[in-house]
Assembly symmetry: C2
Homo-oligomer: 436 residues x 2
């Protein structure tokens, strides 16, 4: 079946004022909905990073994609790689970009464009042959994919502006106590069995206190993670690691760069602390893996099909991780249900993905979802793998149109959490890495 069209729809969705070491989430998160139209009229869907550059990237790739058979993905990749002027190896395009927000780097553009096409193609093929996407990836090893509660220090507000303003379901959370409240509410609503805190926002002692309060409140059986997005020096990372030893399932990106991560690992082991280090900043592509392995800088790779080059690349990464004794987990950006289900199918088909995956989904509001039937249920902390063909989604055209209208009037065309931070919290704020 030939691909006859590539439809690309930019959308914006309300996003609450969440904090991280990158700054502050804007009132809108941007996404791109990609539709691959087959000559038989079937349409495959996927969801990608948002904003004007991403739109331009898809526009540029469009011509090279249309006309290919929907199964001909290896050559679609080669064509995309050529279009963006990179050598045709999957790693030629993607050097680590430690200091950029995921989706805002330019070096992994071909991988991001291809990833969206692969997901849409798998959705289309699944619809064509009447099978769920996980089956096309080799079959599922689990029927439900566990996700983790993703806690954020947060200002008051529900995201969106004017008519788009959403109720502030979660409230302000700028203290350890408020984070515990947030955790309890999110667990009550979704049943999450693992909890991650986005750190790197306050001084490490406050974040240590927050983690201890979570441990105290949730009990010893709930796995906890903290992710300061590289906001700490090696010394601070060692101190936090020592303070939280035994309380962490893994410590995510405490410090920037593979060298820093390796130093933290060595230091922790020298103190008898064997908490795994996870990363989606020091390791963002296959080309980062050899050094990570050689120096033992990372023990858990936080994969993301959106920028590693699609679901099949992640399954390959899973085998690589199993081979080298690395753990595999899954990173998330603000996203809607299409991405959530792509992540779910992929995780179901990846044996080595044994950690609960990250998701920002609870931070989004039902009014912004673009799926018929509304939001994807997360029950007992898990998403059930759909048995329906493809990803198991149908777009709600009206909701998609509203998302596009929001995009057009919201005034945002790319993500810049630092600008947002200066605008709303602290005019003199600058991202410094490491900050502590």
């Amino acid at each position: 079946v030939k691909i006859v069209d590539l439809r690309v729809t930019p959308i914006a969705l309300a996003d609450p004022p969440l904090r991280s070491s990158y700054g502050l989430h804007a009132p809108y998160a941007l996404r791109t909905v990609v539709e691959l139209v087959g000559e038989d009229g079937l349409v495959g869907v996927s969801e990608a990073h948002g904003g004007e550059q991403t739109l331009g990237d898809f526009a540029r790739a469009r011509e090279t994609i249309v006309g290919h058979d929907v199964y001909d993905l290896a050559r679609v990749w080669l064509a995309i790689a050529r279009t963006f002027g990179v050598a045709a190896g999957p790693d030629a395009a993607d050097r680590s970009h430690t200091y950029l927000l995921p989706g805002e780097g330019r070096l992994d553009v071909p991988l991001r464009v291809y990833a969206a096409i692969e997901v849409a193609a798998l959705d289309l093929i699944g619809k064509m042959v009447g099978r769920p996407v996980c089956d096309l990836l080799g079959g599922r090893v689990r029927d439900e994919v566990p996700f983790s509660a993703y806690l954020f220090y947060k200002h008051s507000g529900g995201g969106g502006v004017g008519d788009d303003a959403r109720p502030d379901v979660w409230g302000e959370a700028l203290t350890p106590e408020a984070i515990v409240t947030q955790a309890n509410a999110m667990i009550a609503a979704y049943g999450f069995g693992s909890v991650k805190l986005k750190g790197g926002v306050f001084a490490p002692d406050i974040e240590i206190e927050t983690m201890r309060a979570l441990r105290e409140a949730l009990g010893p059986e709930v796995p906890l993670r903290i992710d300061p997005n590289g906001a700490w020096s090696v010394e601070t990372s060692l101190r936090v690691g020592a303070e939280l030893a035994g309380a962490l399932e893994y410590l995510e990106d405490p410090t920037p760069g593979l060298g820093g991560m390796a130093a933290v690992r060595r230091g922790l082991l020298a103190s008898g602390i064997d908490v795994p280090l996870a990363s989606n900043i020091a390791v963002t592509s296959f080309s980062d893996v050899p050094e990570a392995v050689r120096t033992d800088a990372v023990q858990v790779i936080l994969s993301d099909h959106h920028y590693w080059g699609g679901p099949r690349a992640i399954i390959q990464l899973g085998r690589l991780c199993e081979t080298f004794g690395l753990g595999l987990s899954m990173h998330s950006n603000s996203h809607l249900g299409v991405s959530l289900l792509a992540m779910t199918h992929l995780a179901a088909a990846t044996p080595g993905l044994t950690y609960a995956c990250d998701t920002h989904y609870p931070w989004q509001h039902a009014a912004d979802e673009i799926l018929q039937g509304g939001r994807v249920p997360i029950v007992n902390g898990a998403v059930r793998v759909p048995d329906r063909p493809g990803l198991g989604v149908e777009l709600d055209r009206d909701a998609l149109a509203r998302g596009r209208e929001r995009y057009e009037r919201c005034g945002y065309c790319h993500r810049d959490d630092a600008v947002e931070m200066c605008r709303h919290v602290d005019p003199s704020w600058k991202r410094v890495v490491p900050a502590w």
Copy 2:
């Protein structure tokens, strides 16, 4: 579509008296034809190692496979792993078995059983959805898959006994001159652009002389390889490597074990000789890869979907090789057209597989082929990737029945090249590794 039956047919095919460091090929090579029957009546085919133990393995796995959906391969693997009493990681079953013939080891049985099922399932799915197997693996990067001429020191005889005796197309080849004749004849018949000599048979000086004669006769543009199957000590490997420096595309398994291979690599590099070492003996599974990488023992992995765990495993290995800067090539055992086409689809869908693959196919005779339409053409040294659904093969039932009859009367129930060597060449022969 549920799998309702697993049909397993042992066959024997005439095999000429080829020599290697394992000894002598018997007059028959043994294979197993596996047919997966779907509830819709469609049948998927694959070809596996042969003999009684393999038959028993499939019989034991049968119950666990029947009843699964044909797409449900991840769980089929888990069920097979459980059946054979190994932990459910793909690597738990497979430790390196340096001294065993491929297909005769017992430790990779679950991977070999699963691999045959995966190929048959992909063939069945391909027929069901009307697509070639390479498309199910992610699409092809090439339309033709190059294979290498596979030269052997050989006694006179065409293989088979009595009514099964095949004409000796290639003649005796026990000298450098005769190997050159063999090479020229094989290139004339198939158009191969790369040449591999199975060594480890005669004293290294004779094999060096053979390689030099080939280089002389074929010219500098034909890539040459030699594979003594670990018959040489580290010292001998270094000497041969030095003597043949510049004449080799790669040096395959000169010496046994990862430690030995690493020592050869270090020694060669110390002498300024950067010929890659290839292996299908020191590296036979994912579990061998980390040490191979760490010690730089192997620069080219000779993959084989038959014992690595199926086509998808090899594609995953391909990504791993790209990531770590390793080359990827393909190993072969004596086989018929079903395996040849499985290798072809897989190689077409594996971007990193940039070396011409091994194949024993020229050593087999048309009278032993089990495909409708007869032997698969190798033209200009390459097999064209079929566009037909599945592997693109249909079994010739009469030919298959004849293969089974040959199996039943041939008197061979497993491969033992050492026994054969004693019986026909030298009663006192024993495999010694390293021999020189």
